[in-house]
């Protein structure tokens, strides 16, 4: 269908509402959006191709840098995927610690997201308060793994180092704190009029749309379909500490708010359970340098949904093929459906509602003219980046 130029509203690629460049071609009729064409690829870094030039261990550091928010989910899926190519038994303690870190990451990701919703609905105070509470979680992650974002914590055979002494008491204390704060935010979300107006009934999708378009994560669960990789296909210690799968039947952004907050509460419960029943023993077993030949398909429940890794090994020092499918790519078609029929003003809230992480989504091709000219993320560059980062932190 032909539309005149007045109806076309380009949204992106560089837009104040987006943390990462994306381009959405919106066609309006009057005020309502009738057609949405997403165009992605602006943060392509060629990671799948770069992985073919790096050894197995170096790839851990590469893959965890696909995303800052769900960095541990990537490293967990990759390390456990490669471990599944062998017959090694990973020590129990390592599995429990992996669960603790994965759930801490889920808490920080969901709190970050809720802050963004507050921001885009003009509720700056909510944004500031939540991000301040989130600092408690990031401090815990730093105390355990040594870093807030790219933790490099999961490795082949277990985790890189054990929990520091005394951290268990601190974890219990902070989980209590997070639970109190989230209880307050849950009440806020139910009673604050601006939030309700901007999210109730907005971006409503039906269960049939979800079944048709295969979304993942909270976006799937908000339509009433109870699927969670942690309970369907347990990895790490989720077999012993299963999650409670949160669903809703409303299918709108408000239900996403309630689901994600409920998931944070459940994550707190899982961390407390894990600390209470943490087995003793080693945290790492020696792992062979050369990964045996074979194909592994592994998926984990990242904060945004199902993160899938396909690893093909020929027994060489470097992987033959690693294919990664991140949750935001799976959710993109559903997010487009959520936008149809909504007025233009809903675009930031609905797009944020699917919790997009375009940095996760745009991998593979390196030939991105919008980013810097350096294509290979060389060892030297990663090393320099690490030194600069810690240098800055020390000076602050």
């Amino acid at each position: 269908m032909e539309y005149s130029a007045e109806n076309l509203v380009p949204f992106g690629p560089v837009h104040p509402s987006l943390k990462e460049p994306e381009y959405f071609r919106l066609v309006l009729e009057g005020e309502k959006i009738v057609e949405v064409t997403p165009r992605i690829g602006y943060v392509h870094r060629g990671i799948e191709r770069a992985a073919q030039d790096r050894t197995w261990v170096k790839n851990i550091y590469l893959f965890e840098r696909i995303c800052g928010i769900c960095s541990f989910a990537h490293s967990l899926a990759y390390t456990e995927g490669v471990e599944s190519l062998t017959e090694f038994e990973i020590p129990s303690r390592a599995k429990y610690i992996r669960l603790v870190i994965a759930e801490l990451e889920r808490i920080h990701s969901h709190l970050l997201w809720l802050g963004l919703i507050g921001y885009w609905t003009g509720f700056d105070s909510l944004f500031m308060w939540i991000w301040k509470d989130r600092e408690h979680v990031l401090d815990l992650l730093e105390a355990i793994t040594g870093n807030r974002v790219h933790k490099s914590y999961s490795t082949f055979g277990g985790v890189r180092k054990d929990l520091p002494p005394g951290i268990e008491a601190k974890l219990m204390e902070e989980m209590m704190f997070i639970r109190n704060r989230v209880t307050y935010y849950e009440q806020l979300v139910k009673s604050e009029e601006t939030l309700i107006a901007r999210t109730h009934g907005v971006g409503k999708i039906s269960q049939e749309t979800a079944l048709r378009l295969s979304p993942v994560g909270p976006l799937l669960r908000c339509t009433g379909i109870a699927r969670d990789i942690r309970s369907e296909d347990p990895y790490a210690a989720y077999g012993e500490i299963p999650p409670v799968v949160m669903t809703s039947t409303a299918g709108d952004i408000e239900s996403l708010l309630t689901i994600r907050l409920a998931e944070v509460m459940d994550s707190c419960r899982m961390i407390v359970d894990a600390i209470r029943s943490m087995p003793s023993g080693p945290t790492k077993v020696p792992f062979p340098r050369i990964v045996p030949a074979g194909e592994a398909m592994y998926h984990v429940e990242a904060p945004r949904g199902e993160l899938f890794y396909f690893i093909h090994s020929t027994g060489a020092a470097k992987p033959e093929r690693v294919k990664i499918r991140t949750p935001t790519l799976a959710n993109l078609l559903t997010a487009v459906e959520m936008l149809k029929g909504r007025p233009l003003a809903d675009v930031p809230v609905v797009l944020t509602g699917m919790d997009p992480c375009f940095g996760c989504m745009d991998r593979v091709a390196v030939f991105d003219v919008d980013k810097s000219k350096e294509w290979y993320v060389t060892g030297e560059q990663l090393k320099k980046l690490g030194i600069e980062y810690y240098g800055k932190r020390e000076r602050e």
Partner: protein, 152 residues
């Protein structure tokens, strides 16, 4: 899904079923891949298309359509020669395949006939040189392509 259900699909479409640990792999000819994917997707239970993976084996592009039911992966696999990289699109029966096929098209040059996104690029920049091989194939040399794009 049970082995018998997949076995009967395999017999109908003259394919082969391979069991890898817990997951099942159904290998079919490229002409049968549309029907295979449709039948696997419509089996009772909640089938979910995880993604479509491409892999360059040297002479051909290997394609994996990963489906997840809730207990194990069921993958439909086929192969297209590099001399004729075309396949029918499955996006009419599995709408989620729309973007995954577009990604394989960008990265490997496989055309999925019937997919409306074949004309535009999903992930590659519009300035990607026309004569250059698709980026994830073995022929693609990043240095040469950068020179073609005048980035060096």
């Amino acid at each position: 899904m049970s082995d018998q259900e997949l076995d009967s699909i395999a017999t109908d479409l003259s394919g082969k079923v391979v069991k890898i640990k817990k997951s099942l792999l159904l290998i079919v000819d490229r002409s049968k891949v549309h029907e295979a994917c449709e039948r696997v997707y419509r089996l009772p239970g909640l089938y979910h298309l995880v993604t479509i993976t491409g892999m360059d084996t040297g002479k051909s592009i290997l394609l994996y359509y990963h489906f997840w039911k809730g207990k194990s992966f069921t993958t439909v696999s086929t192969e297209v020669p590099k001399s004729d990289p075309r396949l029918p699109s499955i996006s009419d029966s599995v709408p989620a395949a729309l973007l995954y096929e577009a990604e394989v098209k960008d990265m490997f040059g496989v055309t999925f006939e019937g997919n409306p996104r074949m004309a535009s690029k999903l992930l590659l920049p519009d300035s990607y040189p026309l004569g250059a091989p698709p980026p994830l194939t073995k022929e693609a040399d990043p240095e040469k392509i950068r020179k073609m794009m005048e980035l060096e």
